[in-house]
């Protein structure tokens, strides 16, 4: 197996054109899969970590609220959901930026605590040093720790190909377990995240079977904007590990609007969650447990009050 490390985007696309080429980001998922299927591995791994264009955190100058595609190309549909709060600006997170780099970044910590918390709960220090945000997204596991916060934030993905780039809402990018809208020859270049206003409370909780190196059994990312009298103006909620992709529940978001962040309101919302969510049994937890906890995690929001 060859491993190549292109140093610019042109070289990247050239390398990806070779038959049997496959992108290698941090390798924390890919290498595990290659170990279990050593005979079906790609001929060439194309590493992303020497491409400055894919790394780092920057103000996203291309962000236009409500618009799904930046340059009009591609099949992106208008974004249905943008993060709650005033959209002063958005951040562009390079897809090959490691979890540890993001976690250490002051803008992420200060403005996207919901993402920072998920990153802090992801894997372990070595995994966070190697794994990348783009890798977590492209693996498209329903248990991917960064996915619920990014969906609740209304993130978009920037996909780059030899022919140009396109943007898609993350929700349209994630198609199912291990499946994304990535086309052959395309790479995930960046994730564009609108920054919630200061009136938005951000919360993330992951329930795993242990406190490190754990696959989420259930997780919840919540963004809640409250207005006058502490009433909820808008709530964006996204659950991990309770369905084939990250799960949203518009009924619950609607039910919470106009209510206070009280245990009563949250208990009612939790019962809607339990009636709607359709998790599965696996070796980590039963469907019943996931259903109950998916609802229960909402109650924790009472502590934000």
């Amino acid at each position: 197996m060859n491993v190549v490390f292109p140093r610019n985007m042109a070289a990247l696309f050239k390398a990806l054109d070779e038959p049997g080429a496959r992108v290698l980001a941090g390798g924390t998922d890919l290498l595990v899969r290659l170990r279990s299927h050593p005979d079906s591995g790609p001929a060439t791994l194309v590493g992303l970590d020497r491409l400055p264009a894919l790394r780092g955190v920057a103000e996203d100058s291309g962000w236009e609220p409500g618009l799904g595609t930046k340059d009009g190309r591609g099949d992106g549909s208008p974004s249905e959901s943008v993060g709650p709060g005033t959209l002063h600006r958005a951040l562009r997170l390079g897809a090959a930026t490691t979890h540890a780099e993001l976690l250490a970044h002051p803008l992420i910590r200060a403005r996207l605590p919901v993402l920072a918390q998920a990153l802090a709960d992801l894997g372990s220090p070595p995994i966070r040093n190697m794994g990348t945000l783009g890798g977590n997204i492209c693996t498209a596991s329903p248990a991917g720790d960064t996915l619920p916060p990014l969906l609740a934030l209304g993130a978009e993905v920037e996909l780059a190909a030899k022919t140009g780039t396109r943007r898609l809402p993350l929700a349209s990018f994630l198609l199912g377990p291990g499946r994304t809208a990535l086309k052959p020859g395309e790479v995930l270049a960046a994730v564009c995240v609108p920054v919630p206003g200061v009136d938005v409370r951000q919360h993330f909780e992951k329930v795993g079977r242990r406190d490190a190196l754990a696959v989420a059994v259930v997780s919840l990312a919540a963004l809640v904007r409250t207005g006058h009298g502490g009433k909820i103006v808008e709530a964006h909620l996204a659950w991990g590990s309770v369905g084939p992709t990250v799960w949203r529940c518009p009924e619950v978001e609607a039910a919470l609007a106009g209510r206070k962040l009280s245990l009563t309101a949250l208990t009612e919302a939790a019962s809607i969650v339990r009636s709607q969510v359709q998790p599965i049994d696996d070796v980590r937890a039963s469907a019943d447990y996931r259903r109950e906890v998916a609802g229960n995690l909402l109650l924790r929001l009472a502590m934000l009050e």
Binding site: P38, D39, S124, V207, R209, R210, D211, A212, L213, A214, V215, V217, T267, E268, A270, S271, R274, V283, R284, A285, S286, Y289, E292, V293, N296, L297, L299, R300, A302, M303
Partner: protein, 774 residues
């Protein structure tokens, strides 16, 4: 006793911390062939099946594959096992669990081995299996070993004293409970491994990650019809063992490979998945208990029935059950006991030795009923234990009079006086939102040594090298527990050498059946006790000898006028001294060697019970411990966080405090995993937690700082008064955490592990209906 200003670091600390220490595979020659076992059951989803054939043609066509061996190629009995020889090296007719091997591949490299294994095919016809011990004991159950006289019952046994039935009938208070404890994976860092070579003179030279190098020779010899004395085993430091490397893992397969390798060296190293598939597990046990007491809490009688699932092969199933039964009533005075045990074959993974050997399984049951009794009688749970705790001279639950040291009461007193216990009410009341807090405790013990009927012996060899240093020929493998370092320390103290000033003053040679003298295994909390005693004798003989030989050179008439000093023999009256480097050169090699041996004492006049156990019953020495846990339970998820953990341990006199604490902490950590997290799952004999992403053990984040307290004990027969402390620490966390959970939630969970699902269900039972689900 020689006083030292500060204790030297563990003899193995620096080399291990810097990565310089060499483990088994670090010694393997580069030109090793690779050997691997073909275990088709898991891939075929068959845990019990008839082997119709193995098709090696495709595998043999793989470049680099040299041989594919099957049962037909195995000389000898093709049966391995420590006591009960029932486990084929390679299965020819039947596989009895999903990890059974049917072929052995020998290849030029790890890569060709992998390809060869992938190309092998086996034709296996599924047979009806048994996966639950109760079902296995039914009349028409499929038989795991049809030739075994007892059907699927490997062994049924009874330990009793007095008349438990009558005593329970008349007891003013009776509590009952059923419990279950799960399988547990050892999950040592270093998986099972070794390398071997058949030498031109016919000696099979093996280096193996093993807890029992001397016994391995006989197990291999029996299975493969080899002369055990033409097998040499070396056992460098192990990267963990915990019991899982007691008995054949790679040994017989590797020996078979070496016999077919035309004199070339061969290595075998199990991948993690193979380690989980084929390695031994802790026995899952079902326990049914009844305990009777007076109204003041004085225990009267205990009756229980334990059912051990030994899986496909006996391994040490009978011996593990024996330990469990012997500890079944807890470290208490109980006049009447009736303890029944059944050890049952199933088509589940093989169960065997695991730190806390049978005892970790019974501790949650006897302590669970102690809590139930305390609740029923409105007694303080600590007081109830204190009141019934075994004292020196008492008769324990299997009828042995304790002439050995017993300091359980002192362990409990340590807890009672500790702030974590005395401040528990206030701490509990200050629980944050959505959180319940609870505090629990447990009193536990663990027998030391093999027990009556199997000589627990060690022979220590000590050499004064030509360079004037002392070399300890360690015969008992060090799997990380620190016994080798303890031997260096014991020898240094006895020979009055300073390891702090000269770490090379006492060196260690790790077990090698060719160079060291035979000793028992690294197991049973016996290692430092038995070998340490033997070593002290060897040291004493060495000291006598060196003083006598130095007398001439120093012109001294009485050896009493001399003393052994660091690096020299000293005549204090004159100030003259003879360096050991010089003295060593006076002596011939044979003369520079001293040997000491020790046999562990056994119970005199053993009680007339437990007759089913030919070996291992009863024990005379026990270590004791009292554990305290403070936990937080999350009401929304059922997750349990261990906030504080305290282990007070009676291990006799403490030789090396840091090693002692490490054993207490390591045992407690493994016990916390066993209690809360480690849910080893099988379905139809097939392992569902087949890798380390699903077979979970605690990480550093899942464990609290574990405080270790030592009570000031002294075991008169122990080397410098010590007893083994390797196992007792594992037995406390499960009962202590279940107790803390009951304190927090009001519900006693009796099925382990105490997973968030079970905890949440328990919380829901107690939650007012309105809160449960809107």
């Amino acid at each position: 006793m020689h006083l030292r200003s500060s204790p030297p670091p563990r003899a193995d600390a620096l080399a291990k911390a810097t990565g310089a220490e060499r483990y088994v595979l670090d010694f393997a020659p580069a030109e090793c062939l690779s050997a691997g076992a073909y275990r088709p059951g898991a891939a075929l989803n068959i845990a019990h099946g008839r082997v119709l054939g193995v098709d090696a043609s495709a595998a043999l066509a793989v470049p680099g594959v040299l041989r594919v061996l099957t049962a037909a190629d195995v000389p000898g009995t093709n049966l391995q096992g420590i006591v009960h020889k029932d486990q084929p090296v390679l299965c020819g007719e039947v596989i009895r669990h999903a990890g059974d091997p049917v072929a052995l591949v020998l290849a030029e490299s790890a890569e060709s081995l992998r390809r060869g294994l992938a190309a092998l095919r086996a034709d296996i016809e599924p047979l009806p299996g048994v996966f639950d011990p109760e079902a296995a004991l039914k009349k028409d159950a499929p038989l795991v070993h049809p030739q075994h006289k007892g059907g699927n019952l490997l062994l049924g046994a009874r330990i009793e004293k007095g008349d438990a039935r009558a005593a329970l009938k008349n007891a003013p208070v009776v509590v009952r409970g059923e419990f279950s404890t799960p399988m547990q994976e050892h999950a040592f860092l270093e998986t099972q491994c070794g390398f071997a070579r058949l030498l031109p003179d016919g000696v099979l030279d093996m280096t193996v990650s093993t807890q029992a190098p001397f016994r391995d020779r006989f197990e291999i010899g029996h299975a493969l019809a080899l002369n055990p004395f033409k097998i040499r085993i070396r056992a460098p430091y192990l990267g963990g063992g915990f019991g899982g490397k007691d008995g054949a893992t790679v040994q017989c397969l590797l020996a078979l490979a070496a016999l077919n390798a035309a004199g070339r060296p061969v290595r075998m190293s199990w991948e993690r998945e193979e380690s989980i598939l084929a390695g031994y597990k802790r026995h899952a046990v079902h326990l049914r208990y009844t305990l009777g007491a007076e109204r003041d809490g004085t225990l009267l009688a205990l009756s229980c029935r334990l059912t051990y699932d030994t899986g496909a092969y006996a391994h040490l199933g009978c011996e593990v059950m024996e330990l469990g039964m012997e500890h079944a009533a807890g470290p208490y005075r109980v006049p009447h006991t009736h303890i029944e045990g059944r050890c049952v074959y199933t088509n589940n993974p093989i169960a065997g030795a695991f730190r806390g050997f049978g005892v970790a399984q019974v501790s949650p049951a006897f302590e669970g009923l102690m809590d139930a009794l305390a609740a029923k009688l409105c007694l303080d749970p600590l007081e109830l234990r204190r009141k019934n705790a075994l004292l020196p001279g008492d008769e324990n639950c299997s009828g042995v009079t304790l002439t050995s040291s017993v300091h359980l009461a002192e362990c409990l007193d340590e807890l009672a006086a500790h702030p974590l216990w005395t401040t528990r009410q206030a701490w509990r009341a200050a629980a944050p939102r959505f959180t319940r807090r609870g505090v629990g405790l447990a009193a536990v013990f663990n027998g030391m040594g093999y027990g009556r009927g199997l000589a627990d012996m060690a022979i220590a060899k000590l050499e004064l090298t030509e360079a004037g240093e002392f070399l300890v020929y360690n015969s008992v493998a060090d799997m990380g527990q620190g016994n080798a370092a303890a031997f260096a320390l014991l020898a240094a103290q006895e020979l009055n050498q300073s390891l702090a000033e000269n770490p090379g003053a006492v060196r260690l040679l790790q077990p090698d059946t060719e160079r060291c003298h035979p000793s028992g295994s690294s197991s049973a909390g016996r290692t430092t006790y038995t070998f340490g005693n033997a070593l002290l004798k060897a040291c004493a003989a060495m000291r006598e000898k060196l003083l006598a030989r130095a007398a001439m050179a120093l012109f001294v008439d009485e050896t009493q006028a001399l003393e052994l000093a660091p690096g020299a023999v000293l005549h204090p009256a004159s100030g003259r001294s003879l360096p050991l480097t010089a003295l060593a050169r006076f002596l011939k090699r044979d003369d520079r060697v001293c040997v000491g041996e020790f046999l562990m004492p056994v119970a005199q006049d053993p009680p007339d019970t437990g007759r089913a156990f030919q070996i291992g019953f009863p024990h005379l020495f026990f270590s004791y411990g009292a554990h305290l846990a403070r936990i937080e339970v999350d009401e929304l998820t059922g997750r349990v966080r261990v906030c504080d953990f305290l282990a007070a341990t009676d291990g006799g006199r403490v030789l090396d405090r840091s090693c002692f604490d490490q054993q207490a902490q390591g045992g407690a950590a493994q016990g916390i995993g066993y209690a809360l997290l480690e849910e080893f799952k099988t379905r139809g004999g097939l392992i569902q937690t087949a890798d380390l992403s699903t077979c979970l053990i605690p990480t550093a984040l899942d464990l609290p700082d574990i405080q270790s307290l030592a009570v000031d004990g002294h075991e008169p027969t122990g080397p410098r008064g010590l007893k083994g402390v390797g196992e007792v620490g594992l037995n406390g966390p499960a009962p202590a955490l279940a107790s803390a959970l009951e304190d927090a939630t009001g519900e006693r969970l009796r099925d382990f592990p105490l997973t968030p699902e079970r905890v949440l269900a328990a919380l829901n039972k107690r939650r007012p209906p309105s809160r449960r689900r809107a």
